[in-house]
Amino acid sequence: MNNTKLTVSHAPFWHDGDNLFKKNLNFMLALLPAAIFGILQFGAPALGVMALSLSCAMLWELVINLVSKKPATIGDLEAAVIGLLFGMMLPAITPWWLIVVGTFVAVFVGKMIFGGIGSSPFNPTLLGMAVLMMSWKMFFDFDTAYVDYEFAFTALAPLAAVKTQGAAAADLFTLGDLFMGREVGAVGATFGLGLIIGGIYLILRGYARWELSVSFIAGILITAFLFHAASPQNYAGPLFHLLSGYTLLGAFFLITESASSPVNRIPMLLYGFLGGVVIILMRNIGAYADGTILAILLVNVVSPLLDNIRPNALGRGMNNA
């Protein structure tokens, strides 16, 4: 395979001026509406969680750069995006040490060990989250996390309520409430409208691929619809699943992570769809209330396999003898 030289087109090539820094800046910009809403809803602790998480992630990357005697790479803001996303997936009262450990796992084990940016087989943010959830499950119980808060809406985590009380609990939450973030959850994952606006912005700017988001959402809707149609008293409806938990954050910001997702259109569509199906399977059949994190990590593993579906190279191959 390596002995064939492929002719692409003639030089000169043209650079459109884009770079990692701009990409990640836009990424954070797109996350802002949901993040700001989280601060308004959950108060200063939410700001603290996100700020600590963001700065910790960048600091860890700098430390690892220094220890491994490699040039500092925090300037590309990749670590900042990991940190911000990480903070947005936590409840507002998360203890500080949890964030310090979690960002270390995300940046070190999730990203730097595999060779830094673009080389991670798993989404670093999700890897950190999964490890934390395995170790300290009690801090991710959104019902007990917000026990000191007074809310003007049902103060129950929607997915956990459905898991423990059955699909009837889904009626406690109106879709409008879920859409406008009037629910209990992670600081940056509740505001559906903000996440959708941010996601569409990213897609329009070309930083996230629409194939991934659309097929992911389609996978969720179709699978949840089938479950709901088969037995409405056991399984909540598709729109409830779409608007609760980490689903929208996952659809626009997590599954679209470029290093761990496939590169061609058909694999991307399959990849997103598979992710959506696995999430609903985990929620409806599995032991976890919200399967988003594990489901996306699971399809990360499938990604290299899906990459085998690719078009034949155009043009003539020449043996490089």
Binding site: V101, V109, V131, M134, S135, W136
Partner: protein, 202 residues
Amino acid sequence: MAQSLAKEFTKGLWAEIPPFRLVLGLCPTLAVTKSVENGIGMGLATTFVLVFSNLLISLLRNVIPPKVRIACYIVIIATFVTIVELVMQAYTYPLFLTLGIFIPLIVVNCIVLGRAEAFASKNTPVLAVADGLGIGIGFTLSLASLGAVREIIGAGTITIWGGNPVFAVGDWYHPFSFMVEAPGAFVALGLMLAGMNLIGKK
């Protein structure tokens, strides 16, 4: 003679330390190192098997016909493994329960068969015993150190022997229990391998 004896013994402690340098015997390494105690127990059991199977195979190396040598080695190794299993069951029953299936699995541990085939069948009994002892102690040390890392981070304690921790971090510590779960074993082993390579490179 004394010099080569020392060489065969010490190579197992660093240059050919089994899980880290040879990357052999990973099944027990990953599976039982939830605590230092488990690591030491597994390591000692393997050392016993290694020393005696090496000795016997080296003694019989001119008698065993080459065509059935692997079958003979397995018979010898399995005998010693079963002895270890029975003795552990009789005297250290709680440890036997935690190590469980991994004791009989020493039979197919590639370190034991590897030493028999690569070393004991070609060398004198004294050298073979030194080799088995060195590799066995190296294996025990690696398992104990991996167990120590995982136990102190994952449970906040150090248990050397007998089920009671000799050291506990304290109540303020929220155990990072990921490290004592199965995926934590892979991450811990990977990081320790990387550390060994970092030190070895200099």
